[in-house]
């Protein structure tokens, strides 16, 4: 825990200063998780604020401060899930307005503005983003929390309030789907991914 239970109780009683301290303590960690869950750096802060906004208005529903962290993780996952669903709808409508050539040109223009290392990171993000796009938003988040964030099944069990076996099955299926998409990718892309790591 990054904060005392007492601080959480104070925030539950409407203490704005205590709430501020909680946000400051967890802000960096939550923003990092969101960055990996949504893969769009420009929107990370916006989603992060949404998480803490939800935290502020639902803090009184938290019965025991001991479960604060899984609960905050759950709020993060829910906010990321809502963002991804909105984003998918927005992307579908936006992309339908552009021709394929326009999309490629816009992408190339955007890519030219950043340096090579950033471009490489962007490429990896896009590659994983496209792989994770082969599963549902819910599976994408679950897989990211397990494979990228490195959360254990016990931690995931607390966040999702689902038993471990159900999580294992869901994770296995999601991973198989991503693996299949990864296997079907251009071998050059895979090789460069290997070289990268």
């Amino acid at each position: 825990m990054l904060v005392d239970f007492e601080l959480i109780k104070c925030a539950q009683n409407g203490d704005g200063v205590a709430f501020n301290e909680i946000v400051l303590a967890y802000r960096k960690r939550i923003l990092g998780t969101i960055a990996r869950l949504i893969a769009r750096p420009e929107d990370v802060e916006d989603v992060g604020q949404e998480v803490f906004l939800r935290l502020y208005f639902s803090l009184d529903q938290l019965r025991t401060p001991e479960v604060f962290e899984p609960w905050l993780h759950r709020l993060t996952v829910n906010a990321a899930y809502d963002y991804l669903r909105k984003q998918r709808r927005r992307m579908e409508s936006r992309m339908s307005d552009l021709s394929e050539q326009q999309v490629v040109m816009a992408d190339a223009q955007a890519g030219g503005k950043i340096d090579q290392e950033q471009q490489e990171q962007k490429r990896i993000r896009e590659m994983v983003d496209s792989l994770l796009g082969t599963v549902s938003e819910a599976d994408r988040l679950l897989l990211t929390l397990k494979e990228v964030e490195g959360l254990s099944l016990k931690e995931l069990e607390k966040i999702y309030r689902v038993n471990e076996n159900a999580l294992k099955v869901r994770l296995f299926r999601a991973r198989q789907r991503v693996l299949k998409a990864f296997g079907a990718q251009d071998p050059r892309g895979k090789d460069s991914a290997k070289a990268e790591v």
Binding site: L24, R27, A35, V44, G48, I124, E147, V178
Partner: protein, 113 residues
């Protein structure tokens, strides 16, 4: 696909996830993070406050209307003598204003036929 190749893909995928983790480092929060957060909290509070007051106003108005209706219905308004008479008294009392006309319609005078 051979199992060794599949195993290779598994490892590559794990490595890719690791690279992804490194590529998505936690961004430094901007200085506006906290002020914007509190702005959003206040905006949401104002919104909830407005709708809370609106709901209270509607409930108060509904209660007032119910009370008004109850008072209106409970006040006896049948002061007219017609409603205080019995059925037979009313019939014999000649309150039926249309009776003459009805009689005239049913039994016209012979010269009108």
């Amino acid at each position: 696909m051979s199992s060794s190749y599949r195993g290779g893909d598994e490892r590559s995928l794990d490595a890719l996830f690791q690279a992804y983790r490194d590529a998505c480092q936690a961004p430094e929060p901007s200085p506006n993070f906290m002020p914007l957060l509190w702005q959003r909290i206040e905006a949401r509070q104002n919104y909830s406050f407005f709708f809370g007051r609106l709901a209270k106003g509607i409930v108060t108005a509904a209660v007032a209307i119910c009370l008004g209706m109850a008072v209106y219905l409970s006040v006896p308004r049948h002061s007219s003598a017609l409603f205080n008479e019995s059925y037979v008294e009313a019939l014999s009392g000649g309150h039926n204003l249309d009776a003459d006309q009805l009689h005239a319609d049913l039994f016209p005078e012979p010269d009108e036929m």
